[in-house]
Amino acid sequence: MRQVVAYLVAILTGCAIGFGSAVAMAGLWPGSSALAFGDVNVNDWRSDFAIGSEAADPYTRARVARHGLLALARSEAVYFTRATDDDGQPLREACIYRLSGGTMPAGWWSVTLYDARSMLPNNKDGALSIDAGRAGGGEWEAIISPEKPAGTAHWISSRKAGTFDLTLRLYMPDPAVLEAPANSLIPPRIERQSCTDRART
């Protein structure tokens, strides 16, 4: 009888471990970090170029299904995500950030803010992203904050975003980005300017 109970406990425990580990490792847990993973890392902007393709490993496939459904394969678009500022601190609604960059090696690009559920934050500010058209050629900058700052040409609203991340889309990426991303892409910088809770300013 004790042996039967031991097997039963072992099977239930094994199933729980298998389920929990798969859910955790594939980023399927509710509220888990979104796409801040992958084997491509350029200044903490991370991507997995196997997204959308049959070559994607099971973990990538599951994670993308959860956080990036209907993403295009890399020949058409690549997606970089970053969840921390230049000091390595998590991006938070309580802080104001200066997002800046230059020309991107792609036919079109955008940077969009998503909350921890991989959804656009539930506000009606109409300021969810910046893209190549609005940024214009050359150097550009945008302010990320919960309230629109005065005198800012480009604003991305973090109102109701909580802890968030940014996704950089590069559509029609230059071949060099796919071959050697660290050498061909200078991704946007994210400078934390201030926070409402002083401890992390």
């Binding site: 097997y7 072992a10 298998g18 496939r61 459904l69 955008s110």
Partner: protein, 169 residues
Amino acid sequence: MRRWVGPLAALLGCAVAVHLAVLHFAPGFIMGRAMDALAARGVALHRFTAPQRINPQTQSVVRSSPDLYYALCRFDLANPEARVEVHMGGWPNYQSLSFFDARTDNFATLRGIGKDVTVALLPPGSRAGAGEIVSPTTKGVVLVRRLAPDEQRFAAATRAGMHDSCSLE
């Protein structure tokens, strides 16, 4: 000590089996739920549905871009004789026609900047000729993306979308 070998082996075996099963079935399960959600929001089978501009109130798929026009068509090629004729009307800026199977793979993408694109989608196992694409699974979704980062261009993209079609033949 020996009496624990069997239960430990069972624990390990179950853990590995369930781990792999979750990874294997998760994409299809999530895609299925997403397709159900899209159907509930009015995305039709074998027809492109005129989309609303993406914003926090209208979003239904994770990480949608507010700068793009997305038109979706769900397909079902359960009948081996079936084919879905897909046409994407012209658009002067970036636009693409992409195909996703039931496992979330993006198995084909056709770019169509400034031109129309027409293609036929065939059931799994079919032999593809010119202008034809074979779907790896019977069910999936076709997606038109158009660059439309403001209200004016989204309205223009919607007018261009009137020339899109996705029909079961």
